[in-house]
Amino acid sequence: MEMIYDLFRHLIQNLAQAGILPDSLTYTFVINALLCALLIGPTLGAIGTLVVAKRMAFFSSAIGNAALTGIAIGILLGEPVASPYVSLFAFSILFAIFLNFAKNRSGMSHDTLIGVFLAASLALGSTLMLGVSKTINVHILDNFLFGSIITASSDDITLLVVAVVATIVIGIKNYNRFLLSGLNPSLASVRQVPVMKYDYIFVILIALITVASVKIVGAVLVEALLIIPAAAARNISRSLKSFVLWSVLISTTSAVVGIILPMQLELSIPTGGAIIIVATIFFIATLLLRIIRRQ
């Protein structure tokens, strides 16, 4: 793990020194940032195609809000202020599981149910946040809300690597199963897919990757990176293959540009914001393309 990381760092530093990559990439923290972008971008881009296909966009934003509550609870319970991961993980994953359980049991429409809990988790999260913000530095909260690559520690990065590997491996191996259970649960079940089990696995994966990306992209904006690249990709795709490919490409480019560009320009803007702005530019561009093609 360390070794691969060192290799990656050396490679980038050498390329930067040779003038192939920008100068700033000789700095370790810039390399860390790039690494994060290359981890988050493809993963959220790929899994985002499933989120969109399974119509779970709303669900993932509820999880983003729940992450806020998790952070606040962690800080209240006395976890380290910069990394209240135990509460963050526990609360987000429990929230995801509960939401899925409630959906299955109540037979209520997804939208209504999530609408309620989306609002509830935001209310709870922001109330607790404002409560704790009196006792700690507000900037730390800003970082959780909107992301900050500069403050990402090596623990944060390790965690991200683990979450990314889990998401990619499970997500790719079971891509068809996840998608088919969304399209038609009965058909999936005839095809030997235990639909309920895969629903749970999927929401836990979303919670996992959301939590791991919170420090970098921000709780408010993780879900945007799950949805916008996939939505942009849809505008220019005519098959599943190009859908996934474009989504990954757009998401990765957004992450890299959104992380590196502000550093280059020495702008101190939140990372998450920058990433989403770039992604949105892609979305608008592909939308225009689509409109032009239709005429």
């Binding site: 195609t49 969109v52 296909a53 119509r55 790719i172 891509y175 068809n176 998608l179 088919l180 969304g182 399209l183 038609n184 009965s186 058909l187 079940s189 005839v190 095809r191 939505a231 849809r234 795709s237 005519r238 098959s239 599943l240 293959k241 190009s242 859908f243 996934v244 490919l245």
Partner: protein, 243 residues
């Protein structure tokens, strides 16, 4: 007497009842389908046909007994759902859809070699091969139904269950479906078909069951499908409210 080949199971259910919350959707259904036979299910909208089929597949909690009696070990079940919910935002081609049903390799990485030929051949059989690159959202209702049907033919089923929607009246489709079903019947497959075209049911079905919460009538089509019975279907009100 000729001996029938049997591949499919005898599907048996006795006293099957099913409720959603407080409303009774199926009430004491007795039903048998045999290998090499086409058993059609008809009935008004909301009569419980799809619910019945899902119960047969073991997907819903029910009262009463359901059994699939296979000759040897359990065979393969093909299922044609009434609809699939493909979001307009997902660019899923015909080919993508079938491959995601039948292979392990993620559908976005292309069709795996093992099933490529088979996919082309079932699409050919339902006359959709030339449209395999089209998106689901670009298909007509009848074409969609043909793709859903094609999917159920891989791997070749021993029990085939079709849940056809009301509005998929598509002449070409109907002819293709019944041709393929004739072939499957000859091979001893058990076929259960929720159907809306009464003329075709009368002509094709070996046994017909009309369901509107409970069984309205059941038997050989030319015996039971007379004017009076048919009138009963079309004038029937949905009756789930009362228990």
């Amino acid at each position: 007497m000729e001996t029938k080949i049997t591949r499919g199971p005898i599907v048996n259910c006795a006293n099957l009842s099913m409720t959603f919350g407080k409303s009774c959707v199926l009430d004491k259904i007795d039903f048998t389908a045999k290998p090499g036979e086409l058993h059609c299910i008809i009935g008004p909208n909301g009569g419980g046909k799809s619910t019945f089929v899902k119960s047969l597949l073991g997907q819903l909690r029910h009262e009463g007994s359901i059994s699939l009696e296979w000759d040897n070990q359990p065979g393969r079940i093909g299922y044609v759902p009434q609809t699939i919910e493909v979001d307009k935002t997902v660019p899923l081609t015909v080919e993508n859809f079938i491959s995601l049903c039948v292979q392990n390799r993620p559908a976005f990485l292309g069709i795996s070699k093992r099933v490529k030929k088979e996919i082309d051949s079932v699409l050919e059989r339902v006359n959709m091969l030339h449209k395999k690159k089209l998106l689901f959202s670009e298909l007509s209702g009848g074409e969609r139904q043909r793709v859903l049907f094609a999917q159920a033919l891989i791997p070749s089923p021993d029990l085939l269950i079709l849940d056809e929607p009301m509005n998929s009246i598509d002449r070409t489709g109907a002819a293709i479906f019944s041709g393929i079903i004739d072939d499957l019947k000859k091979e001893g497959v058990t076929v259960i078909w929720v159907h809306h075209d009464l003329a075709q049911v009368r002509e094709k079905a070996d046994v017909v069951t009309c369901i509107n919460r409970s069984i309205i009538f059941q038997g050989v089509p030319r015996d039971v499908m007379d004017e009076k019975h048919l009138l009963e279907i079309f004038t029937a009100q949905p009756v789930q409210e009362a228990i």
